[in-house]
Every structure is written in structure tokens, then in C-alpha cells.
């Protein structure tokens, strides 16, 4: 096999971006860092997050990944990739273990085991891909690559040699007579199983499944000299299988392919990302595949903050979802409404959708059309970090300065209560300046603010929470384009508890 192994994440010839060292602050502001335990623990999860946070260069790169996601949405394909990754991890562990072994017969057996695991994993994945016939370019290429590998004579030959050696070792059955200070090794002979006899005798008194009992075997990591002595005697009693083992490892002991580990990691990125995103989608809901709009249009339907949605769904609660539509020329959305009303979560959700779309991922939503962005900038309140108000405003303005320098037409800015540390009239003036500068740069802005005047500005699109259908005095956590209205929350007491006659009857009968 001379052609380089194909990647599932990047098209052939694409540059593989360097992995960022730390989670950028904008990703933390969007709370995307909290996906890490769901994406995988520790370094593995952080590595997968880094890929998720790196935008792709063009629409076709997005399509390349979306195709794979569509394939991986089939449970059988996701399971195939997962099995492959697990088998390769087990192989890796066997190989690492073999390096620690002091006894030749012990080490060789682990190497043999690792070879068996690798080759079986390759055969399994190749067979799965032939059977499942994925539609994506990437998985199609991988299938062809693996088929070529399996078809090579070296592979077939190795497979047979390893299987024969394992079978020969597996057929050995020996007998130990263990006395107080003497062990006699011989070939096994036909003698009744004492434990089975006892189980049979007492079978009449047992009911149901036996309770598993913790019996520690106090097994040491390394072979003891006595075990080594036993193995040596066994090898003398059964020489042929051990000779075959040595021959096989000498011939094939180096046949491990590092490209397979990369393939397993790439596959698990799709599986893990999909699983993490599904945790934020209601049961049975489909994920939406973003359409990339080249004219700057934005049409997002049915989104919610990924982390909030996941938490609500875990508790079995309903998730209010929101819409946002912006025509090609509209670049600024101003979100107003009561505190604690879900405004920041909605702004985060808009940011998250852009990031996911740019990484080629599907989104828990009804439908998504977004422009391709290549960076996200956030202006989030830093209340916890500084308490000198003058210092706070100064720090905020410095960060905004740096942000303005970097902003361009493919930048998305998410602002959360900007200039909250100063007076309302100051804040309004500053915010208008900020929006004007961003407009010059052509950046797109989603801002959460209590300054309702901003929503009335000509260039802005006003977004607010939707009143509850049954009680106009209370608000939902749903947002859509509508004028800012400033109504406070209110609620009725008794009906909230479902204690009306009809409600009670229905609850009993449910």
C-alpha cells in the first residue's frame, strides 16, 4: 500500500491546522468548553474540542464533514467506528504490556495477541464498510484503502500464521499437583470437576442467578519465578506450540500500522461529537445540517443553548427553542427582555450554531442557514474578575480595541450586557460607537442588553422573548423578532399546581 492513508476529517491535500494549546476565551464565553466531558475526558476531549473550534476554510470542506456525519448518524456505522477504535486501543495496550515482559514466551504471546487484535479490527471495519456502503467521500476512500490492505498477500499470510500459533497454544491442557512444597506438572487427564460436583449437589437449594462473590486472585503483574518454572515445564512437555510461537513473532512482529490509530481517532471524533450534540436534542428530534449562505443571509429555526438544553432534557423537562432570521443586509441583532429570561443563553446559542456550522457539524435545531464565519469574538461582562469600576471599563475597552482590529466581514461578535459597569447614558453612547465601528468592519453582531434604545436603531433588528399563550403577563424562554416591550414577569398561584378538578382527575388517570 503506497498511497497515504486517507483522513476522515480533512480532504486529501488539505493542510491540517495546528492544535490550539488552550481553550480560547470566546469558546469559554459560549460555554463550549463544557462539552469536554461529553466529547471525552481529559486530553482526548480537549483535543476533540479543538477540532470543533477550528473553522473550515470553505463550503466544500464543510460538506466533506457533513457527509461523514450523515453516515455516522446511522447507528450501525457509528458502532462499527467505535468497535474499531476500541479494538485498536486494546491492541495498543497489549503491545505496551509486551514491552514490559521479562520472559520471552510471555512477551511473544502478547505481541501475537496484539497482531491478532489489529488485523481482526481491520477486517471487521472493512467488512462493515462494504456492508454499510457509506455515502460520504471520506468513508468511501477509507473503505477502498482497507480493502487494498486486506487483499495484499502479506496480510493473508500473517493472519493464518498468527491464528495457527494461537490455536496451538490454546490446545495445551496441563495438570498441576500442588503439594506443600512441591508442584508436579503433567498433561491433563480426565478427572471430575470438584466445584461442579458441589454445585450439582447443592443445585436443589439455589434459586435464581448466583450472586457473584468477590474472590481476589491477588494476581501479580509480573510472572513469579514459580510461574516461570511452571511455564518452562509446560514448554518442555509441549515443545511444538512454543516453537511455532517464536517463529511467528520473528516473522511478523513489526507489522503494526500507525495510520490505523489516526483513522480510529478521526472516526471517534464524529461519534463523540454526534453523541454530545444529540444530548441537546429532544428524543427523536433530527439534527439539522446547516446550509452555508454566501449572501450573508441568516435563518435559524428551533435552537437552544446546547448546555441548557442538555440539562433540561436530563431532568425530563421541556426545552423552549427560538428562531432568528436576518436578511442579507441585516448584521445586528439586539436582544432585550427581563433578567433571568434566557437572553444570554439565546445569544450563546446563536454563537454556538455558527461555530458548529463552520466545523462541518450538524446542529440540534429545526433548520439552519448561516454564513461561514472564520472567527468568533465575545464581549462578556468580567464582573467576577475586577471590582474597580474605572478599571473594569478600561479593561473592557482595551479588549474591544483588540477585537476591532481583528474584526472583518467573517467575524461574529457576541456581546453580553456591554458597558454594564458605567451609567446607562454612557453605556448607550459607547454601545452605539461600538456598533458603528463593527458595522464599518462588516462584522455581524448579536448583543444582549437592557438598553432598549439600541433595539430601536435603524440598523438593528430587535429580538425579544415571546409572551406565554395562556397568560400574557408571563414570558417564555422563546425568542423571536419582535419589538422590545419591557413587561415584567407575573404569575398566577393556584393553577400552577394543577389542583383544579379536571387537572386532578387527569393526573390520577394518567
Amino acid at each position: 500500500v503506497t498511497e497515504p492513508a486517507p483522513r476522515l476529517l480533512y480532504r486529501p491535500g488539505d493542510a491540517v491546522p495546528a492544535r490550539a494549546a488552550a481553550v480560547p476565551s470566546w469558546a469559554a464565553d459560549l460555554r463550549l468548553d463544557e462539552l469536554v466531558p461529553a466529547l471525552g475526558h481529559g486530553d482526548v476531549g480537549r483535543g476533540r474540542l479543538a477540532v470543533l473550534l477550528t473553522p473550515l476554510p470553505d463550503e466544500d470542506a464543510v460538506a466533506y464533514r457533513q457527509e461523514v456525519f450523515a453516515d455516522v448518524e446511522r447507528p450501525a456505522l457509528a458502532e462499527a467506528l467505535q468497535r474499531f477504535a476500541e479494538s485498536l486501543a486494546a491492541m495498543r495496550a497489549d503491545l505496551d504490556r509486551s514491552r514490559r515482559m521479562r520472559h520471552l514466551a510471555e512477551r511473544d504471546r502478547w505481541v501475537l495477541h496484539a497482531l491478532e487484535a489489529q488485523d481482526a479490527a481491520v477486517e471487521d471495519l472493512a467488512a462493515d464498510l462494504r456492508r454499510l456502503a457509506p455515502a460520504s467521500r471520506a468513508l468511501h476512500r477509507v473503505g477502498a484503502y482497507l480493502d487494498a490492505m486486506i487483499g495484499a498477500p502479506a496480510f493473508t499470510e500473517r493472519r493464518a500464521a498468527v491464528a495457527d500459533a494461537l490455536a496451538a497454544l490454546g490446545s495445551i491442557a496441563f495438570r498441576l499437583r500442588i503439594g506443600e512444597h512441591r508442584v508436579v506438572v503433567s498433561a491433563a487427564r480426565d478427572e471430575p470437576d470438584l466445584a461442579a460436583s458441589i454445585r450439582a449437589t447443592f443445585a436443589r437449594l439455589r434459586d435464581g442467578e448466583p450472586e457473584p462473590l468477590p474472590v481476589d486472585r491477588f494476581e501479580s503483574i509480573d510472572m513469579s519465578p514459580l510461574e516461570a518454572d511452571v511455564l518452562e515445564r509446560v514448554a518442555r512437555l509441549f515443545p511444538e506450540p512454543f516453537e511455532r510461537l517464536a517463529r511467528t513473532v520473528t516473522a511478523h512482529g513489526e507489522a503494526f500500522d500507525p495510520a490505523l490509530a489516526q483513522l480510529a481517532d478521526d472516526g471517534m471524533w464524529y461519534v463523540a461529537v454526534l453523541e454530545a450534540l444529540r444530548a441537546s436534542a429532544a428524543a427523536g428530534a433530527r439534527l439539522a445540517y446547516p446550509v452555508i449562505a454566501s449572501d450573508g443571509r441568516l435563518d435559524i429555526r428551533g435552537i437552544a443553548d446546547l448546555l441548557v438544553a442538555r440539562r433540561l432534557l436530563v431532568d425530563g423537562r421541556h426545552v423552549d427553542t427560538s428562531d432568528l432570521r436576518l436578511a442579507p443586509g441585516e448584521r445586528v441583532a439586539i436582544i432585550t427582555g427581563p433578567s433571568q429570561g434566557g437572553r444570554t443563553s439565546f445569544a450563546r446559542a446563536v454563537g454556538q450554531v455558527h461555530v458548529l456550522a463552520a466545523a462541518g457539524c450538524p446542529v440540534p435545531a429545526v433548520s439552519v442557514t448561516v454564513p461561514l464565519i472564520d472567527q468568533v469574538q465575545t464581549v462578556f461582562d468580567q464582573t467576577e474578575r475586577l471590582d474597580d469600576p474605572g478599571g473594569r471599563l478600561r479593561t473592557e475597552l482595551r479588549r474591544i480595541r483588540a477585537m476591532l482590529d481583528a474584526a472583518d466581514a467573517r467575524t461574529l461578535v457576541i456581546a453580553n450586557e456591554p458597558f454594564a459597569s458605567t451609567t446607562a447614558s454612557d453605556a448607550l453612547a459607547l454601545a452605539r460607537r461600538l456598533l458603528a465601528r463593527l458595522a464599518e468592519r462588516g462584522a455581524r453582531v448579536v448583543a444582549v442588553t437592557f438598553l432598549e434604545e439600541l433595539a430601536d436603531d435603524a440598523a438593528a433588528v430587535s429580538v425579544a422573548s415571546v409572551p406565554a399563550a395562556d397568560d400574557p403577563r408571563s414570558r417564555t424562554y422563546r425568542f423571536e423578532r419582535r419589538p422590545a416591550d419591557g413587561l415584567a414577569h407575573a404569575h398566577l398561584l393556584a393553577g400552577q399546581y394543577g389542583l383544579g378538578a379536571a387537572a386532578v382527575e387527569a393526573r390520577i388517570r394518567s
Binding site: 491442557a173 508442584v183 450472586e211 519465578p225 518442555r236
Partner: protein, 531 residues
Amino acid sequence: VITRLLFPDADLDLDAIPAPDADLVVDLELERLFAAMAAGDDAILAVVRRVVPLGVRAGAVPWDAARTGEPRSVDAILARQAVVADTLAHARTARELYRLATDAVDAERRVWGSALRNAELVLHRSVDVLRGLLDAVEAMRDVLARDRAALHAPAWLALADRLAADVDDAFLRTAREQLDRLGDRTLVVTAGLGAGNRADGFVLREGRAGRDSLRDRVGLGRPRSLAIEVTLHDQNAMNALAELRAQAVAPAAAAVAETACHLLAFCRRLRDETAFLVGCANLVAALETVGVSLVMPEVLEPMAGVLATALVDPCLALAIGGGVAPNDVDTSGCPLTVVTGANGGGKSTVLRAVGVAQLLLNAGMPVAAAGLRAAPAREVLVHFPRGEAIDADEGRLDTELRRLSALVDRVRPDSLVLLNEPLAAVNERDASAIAGDLTRGLVAGGAHVWLVTHHHELAAGLHAKPPSETRFLRAARGEGGTRPFRVEPAPPLITSFGEDLWAAEVEGSGAATQAAKPPAAGSGASASTIA
């Protein structure tokens, strides 16, 4: 071996039983009942606390089993009643089995005890434990064989038969012989090569433990066997040998320990099931000393309401040492019973008596009455005042509404719901509207409801427009303010105070009628009815 003394198709598993509803235990003062059943034995107390509120549903018997073709709860109750009746007539059987099972379980704790998990130690301890358990099971078998003639309940007879069949003398002989063989110091095992070519898959064999044959030692050509000598003074080698021995006996140790666990589980279940029965015998004895006798209730289905003569609250009798006035109660045919009347007139007492009787009936136990007939209730749920003061603010109303809503979550058709002074702390108009709605909803949903209230508008509303067949009971102070704790059928007093006043003062047609007192805002609530 299955026990099946308490449930028709399951054995008692205390760990699987959810903790009883804390409100039920507190409001019906069930701890007094449990204490009388335990008679100082903590193990019995632990069992009855779980089993009495559970009734006869051990998970395996669904409530509406009639529809799914499984045994109905009525049949399960009748089966339990038979077992309890045998126990009350002949308590020695249950008491001796309880003692044997308790001793066997306690002995195991002494022998096995700490977290010993070395296979060879586990093997030897397990063999000891198993020997002790075999002795205990043999003794149980003998007790049941001796008392068989005095027992009538199918569950008792089936247990006696099972032990006679499964623990016969031939079995005991074989089992004891095999256990002796496990004591040998020389082990014969077979094994194969596992991961890393280490010995694996040990199977302990009934091999000859004697010396190797001459043929094995001096074979011709290729050797038939090879020996390894372990030097006694080499501590590492001796440790390695011990490890090998442990590995060799591990599967056998697991088999023996597993068998011991099965027998032990049987002893635990038998201990717990007989604990409940001993508790029933203890309860009858305790109530006898305070002059209360019990009767096995008549279980009828379908039937709404209860028909009882000389019903008392056994918990109250145990608390005050007797002298509790009995009540005759007839609410048969009525899904809803409304109790009104004077404060301290025994409203809560009759409510508790009905609740406790229903629980005892559900559990197949005798009830504190001269006679009682009722259907099983799916569950008994209570709502008693919980310190929500009379002049409650919004927060307190909120708290009680949340409590009521949580109650409704648990109500199912055929639940018995005891509402004691709901929303006592709320103004009468609001309380009557909310509680009236709630009551109608509960009855419409198929629950059986007892409602005690001092809110006249609530009772009058239900009287004017009853949601179903409804029985109205009234507690009244006796002549001269005595407290007979009697509750009689009577409609709620009509609160025509305003109209009466209008009539008296404006129309001037005469004295106000019977409701001479306006509804006192401060009456009612949870004033204890225990003298």
C-alpha cells in the same frame, strides 16, 4: 429454596422495598404499632416498618392483576390472612423458625466477618459456614415436620413440603462428604495457557491426592511429568506457591461461597418473613393487655367505603393504655366520606382508625374492631395539617399547595386518600373552592376519599352537590361538653349564620336556628384528639 410465606409469588426482599411514606407513619402514629409488634426486637422492627405499609404487593403482584391474569390482591390478602391466622393460633412454629434463622445468619457474620478475599481462606471459611447452614436448615425442616398437623395455610404447608423434599437425609450425607474432601491439603488442578502464556482456567479436580505413580515419574522417552521443588526457607518462593494455590482453588471457592450465599439468603428471607409473623403475634398480645381485641377483616371487592363495628385506633389505644371509645362506621357504597363537627370531637381519631384499619387489611393482618368489611386499597395516602398556621401568608399557602400537588401525583384509582383539615390556614372562601375542586377531582379520578374539615362552606358545597355517593358524618361533643369520641351520620351543620342574622335582625322572625355559632376562624386544625 423459596420461602413464599408472605407473598404468593415472591419472597420478601427488604432491600427492594421502598421506604414507607414518612407522612403516613407520622400522621397515623404507626411507630406505636411497630413498637408493639417488635416487642423490643430491632430486627422485627426493621421488618414491620417496611412490610406493614407495603401491603401484599411484593412488586410481583400488580395492583390491577385481575386484568393481566395474575393473582389479584384480594387473593394475595386471603393467602396472607391464612398464614397470619395459623401463626396467631400456633405461634411456636414461627417463633422457633425465627430463632433458628436469626442464629444461622448471626453465626455467619462471626465466621466470615471481615473482608477476607484470599481464595484459599474464602474456601475454608465457606466450608465452615456451609456446614453450619446445613445444620440450621435441617433443624428448620424438623420444626416444620413436627408442627405440620397444626398448620393449615397453603403457604406454611408448601414450605414444610419443600424443605422435606430438598433437605432429605441422603442429600445431607453427600453434601457433608463433599465438604470434607475440600479440606485436603494437596490440590489437583488442570489449567491452560491464557493471556501472556500465564496459567489460566484453573479447574479443581477430584484427583487422587496420593503420590505420583512410578510410571509418571520414570517415563520412557519424553518425560510424562516434571516436578518443581519449592525451598521451605525461600520466602518469595513460598509466597508464589501460596498464590498459585489460591489461583487453583479460586473457582471452587467461588462455588462453595456462592452455595453458602444461597443458603444464607434463604435464612435471611425466612428470618424476615417470620419476623413479620412473630410481630403479628406480639401485636395481638400487646393489644390484649389494653383491652383491645382484633378480628380478621372480611375482604370484599368491589366495594366502596367501609362497614365496621366497634372500630378503634390501635395506635391510640397503645398510647393511652386502653379506654378508647369504639365507633361503628358504615360508609359502604360511598367513595367519599365527609366528617364535620366540633373540635375535639374525635374527627381525627376516626380518620386515623379508618386509615390504620385499611393498612392492616391491606397487609393481611387482623384489625382493631369487632367486625370489619372493606375492599383492599391500592395505597393509603394522607394529608394532615403540618404547622401551617391559621393566619398563613402567601408562602405558607404555597407550601401546602405544593404538598397537595405532590399527593395528587401519587394518587391512583382505588387509592384511599385521607384529607385531614386541608387548607385549614386559608380563608374559608378560597380554601373551600380549592379543596372542593380537589375533592371532586380525586373522586372523579376513582380515588376513595375521607375528608375532615371545619370549613362549613366546603362541607355544605359537597352536601348540596355531592360528586358521588357521599356519607356525611358528624363528631359532636356529648352533653355538657364531654368527649365521647363518637362520630354519627349527620349532614354538615348549615352555616346560615348570616342569613339567620338577617332573618333575626332584619326580618325579625325569631331566634337563630341551630347554627348558633359563626364559623370560628380559629377552630379546627390539628388540635390533638388524644386526651
